[in-house]
């Protein structure tokens, strides 16, 4: 039975897992720790990995639970820090402010979405997965994926319509 090379998987999928945990709400300074936590689980459960299944899908499942475990403490800490240091926002240029506002809008939207919609939106529109890939990874029907994606996108469109134009520079 072929065994999973954890070190190789880490090198190959580090960037993907890093982005994923960030997309799912882990703040930048904690992202590395979250990624390490994911691969600790991978190390411990390497024997459970089936070679015929998608490693990315498996990593997604693990990352989802790691983020869920730590999400509350991370968000609580961030809210506290944001409350303390909000005055920094006037130190960046206008374009950066607009981009920051856009990113914040998406962050707030993702925070407000139910977890199942959030994950589908992230995998589809930020990671570029197809609906069948998402369905396989999350063990859902393709129709369910489409349904959640449609709902999440509608909320994103509504939030974007309220938020104004984004300077993409």
């Amino acid at each position: 039975v072929p065994t999973l090379d954890v070190a190789e998987a880490y090198r190959e999928h580090y960037a993907f897992v890093w982005r994923l945990v960030r997309h799912l709400g882990v703040p930048g300074p904690a992202a590395d720790d979250a990624v390490q936590d994911v691969f600790v689980v991978v190390s411990r459960r390497a024997e459970e990995y089936r070679a015929d299944s998608s490693l990315r899908a498996w990593l997604t499942t693990i990352a989802r639970f790691v983020v869920r475990d730590h999400r509350k403490s991370w968000r609580r800490r961030l809210r506290r820090l944001q409350a303390i240091g909000r005055a920094w926002s006037d130190r960046v240029d206008d374009g950066a402010i607009e981009r920051a506002d856009a990113a914040r809008l998406v962050r707030e939207l993702l925070d407000s979405l139910p977890e199942d919609q959030r994950l589908v939106l992230v995998l589809s529109d930020l990671e570029g997965w197809t609906a069948p890939e998402i369905a396989q990874a999350l063990e859902l029907s393709v129709n369910t994926v489409y349904s959640r994606l449609r709902t999440a996108r509608q909320k994103l469109e509504a939030a974007a319509a309220k938020g104004g134009e984004v300077d993409d520079g």
């Binding site: 130190r91 990113a103 489409y146």
Partner: protein, 198 residues
């Protein structure tokens, strides 16, 4: 499936730009090290708490309660069961005296158990000074100075006692400056990562 509008796509792109993974993959922590760190995270507070309780208990045993004109009560030895029973009554009287004492009756301050506080080591003082400088700069709105102070601390005490505090401050700065740069806590002082996240 409806496609996203350009505006919504632009929002997502702005969001994704903030989430570029570092170009340099950090080394994977060995499982043994992670386990050890996990144990330490549990062990250190537990041992610390036990030490505080032990110190308090020890100081409590050494302490006595004195009231002017009253006899001195001391903790009865564990083996002296009969005297311990006999001392119950005076203990109640003592409380009664204290509650009803007139103001002109001198009641001595009870000797309180004082925790033994070790003076901060020079290393800790140095760490504190550096982080205090960062905090002061942060409050004054001087982000660059705060970052410099954190960087000095990271260089001097990469695994110092106050490293978690340094990370906390880095998060504070990071949250406010995310659009323009990253001050990843574990990379404060490391140009590689800051370059890679631009």
């Amino acid at each position: 499936m409806d496609e996203l509008s350009d505006r919504a796509r632009a929002y997502l792109d702005a969001f994704a730009k903030q989430h570029r993974a570092p170009a340099v993959v950090p080394p994977l922590r060995p499982l043994t090290a992670v386990k050890a760190a996990s144990w330490l995270r549990w062990l250190l507070p537990t041992v610390g708490m036990a030490a505080v309780i032990a110190a308090g208990w020890s100081a409590g045993r050494a302490g006595t309660i004195e009231v002017a004109g009253a006899r001195r009560f001391e903790a009865a030895p564990h083996h002296a069961t009969v005297p311990a029973i006999e001392e119950r009554t005076p203990t109640l009287e003592l409380r009664s005296v204290a509650l009803h004492a007139r103001q002109d009756v001198a009641v001595a301050e009870p000797v309180r158990a004082r925790p033994r506080v070790r003076p901060a080591s020079s290393t800790l003082r140095e760490e504190l000074a550096m982080l205090d400088a960062a905090k002061t700069s942060l409050r004054a709105g001087d982000r660059d100075a705060a970052l410099r102070a954190l960087t000095r601390h990271a260089d001097r005490f990469p695994n110092g006692l106050l490293a978690p505090e340094r990370r906390r401050l880095a998060i504070r700065i990071d949250e406010q400056t995310e659009p323009t740069g990253c001050v990843h806590s574990s990379c404060v002082g490391s140009d590689d990562h800051q370059e890679s996240t631009r």
